[in-house]
Symmetry: C2
């Protein structure tokens, strides 16, 4: 992807490229501007010109880094997914009782999903998946599947520690995360503007707690 540094095969041992060097910082700035436009007003409504303007960059520069508008969109999605990966990898659930750990996981998950940017990202991404299925898989691998693995792993550890008794931890993880999202997930995606209340979802605490209750009532080892 970045083989522009070794410009010519016949070049001498001098690694330095000739002429004005590429401003590497600009790519990230462009991607950030693209993220802002694409996931706030959508792919079709966004224009390369406005993205370039927001990035403080010429339109031609954008085209020099990204072949086409769709390529820029795909790159922006990839970038967001990379950010998501990082955010989800820090999420090492701390100690406490199994109930506390599960509730903590659930509340973290809700807080993560109910963010305004996340809602908009999901919305605009879902539409473009129809036109470009790869970006959908990119997101699934970076977000949901990763979260699911993390929860499954948490359950596995609890099973090994003798706290829970579960045959199929992956199935159990799917059930728990499904309950945590619940009907509220639809309200999140189709309901009135999200970012009006400070708390992402006022009923989240109750929902997560009762979900964990129901979960533990069956799986707790006692």
């Amino acid at each position: 992807m970045s083989d522009k540094t070794s410009a010519s095969i016949k070049s001498t041992a001098s690694n330095k490229a000739l002429g004005r060097p590429v401003d590497t910082a600009k790519s990230a700035i462009i991607l950030d501007a693209a993220r802002h436009e694409f996931f706030n007003i959508g792919f079709a409504q966004s224009s390369i010109e406005s993205i370039a303007a927001r990035a403080g960059v010429s339109k031609v520069t954008v085209y020099n880094r990204f072949k086409t508008k769709e390529a820029l969109f795909a790159a922006a999605v990839g970038n967001e997914c990379a950010v998501m990966r990082k955010a989800l990898s820090v999420e090492a659930t701390a100690g406490g009782s199994i109930r506390e750990r599960l509730v903590h996981f659930g509340m973290e998950m809700v807080a993560f999903l109910w963010r305004d940017e996340m809602v908009r990202f999901e919305r605009h991404l879902a539409v473009e998946v129809e036109h470009n299925p790869e970006i959908g898989l990119l997101f699934l691998d970076a977000g949901p599947r990763r979260l699911h693995q993390a929860l499954s792993h948490l359950l596995d550890e609890a099973v090994e520690a003798g706290e829970l008794q579960i045959d199929d931890t992956e199935q159990a993880a799917e059930h728990l995360s499904g309950m945590i999202k619940g009907l509220a997930d639809l309200e999140r995606r189709f309901g009135a503007n999200i970012s009006q209340a400070k708390i992402p979802d006022p009923k989240a605490k109750k929902r997560v707690n009762s979900a964990v209750d129901l979960f533990l009532k069956s799986y707790r080892n006692d």
Copy 2:
């Protein structure tokens, strides 16, 4: 909405309107064509001209019935929601054991949600909600909230019949439907093309059954 029949206040007792009558069938045809375009390729990608062509109608006729493109979209959404209401009202869950009834409900729900048209409808609707929150509420009232009420009602009846013991049936309904959708809901929205397998979701049966199992393990009255 249809006060064009009583054209003039000063008109005589003759109810019949003057001149060529409006072809009332055309509105439905236009809405159907609009549905096809809007929910397959999206609002921005759809053009009034192509919708009119698909409907076998002049572009001007479309503008005569619907003031603007956005109004046409909103009307198409309303129409789809009306269809959804009808489809969901027929869903009188038949008899059988409580387990059978819940599994039946779950499988019907999955079959309904996993349809290709439903997936695309959700996708394209969710994006436009950002620009027009009303249509989101229209959908929520016609679909998810209605489904939730139906399930809650089913649970209420089972509680009254002594089959289940539940404090908060609405919360319980939310948990059950959440488990039924599970992680697969995300695969549905962001995964590879849906309509390749005949069965909507190959793991649906297992997921629904285990969800009902977990549900009944806590709430069954025995």
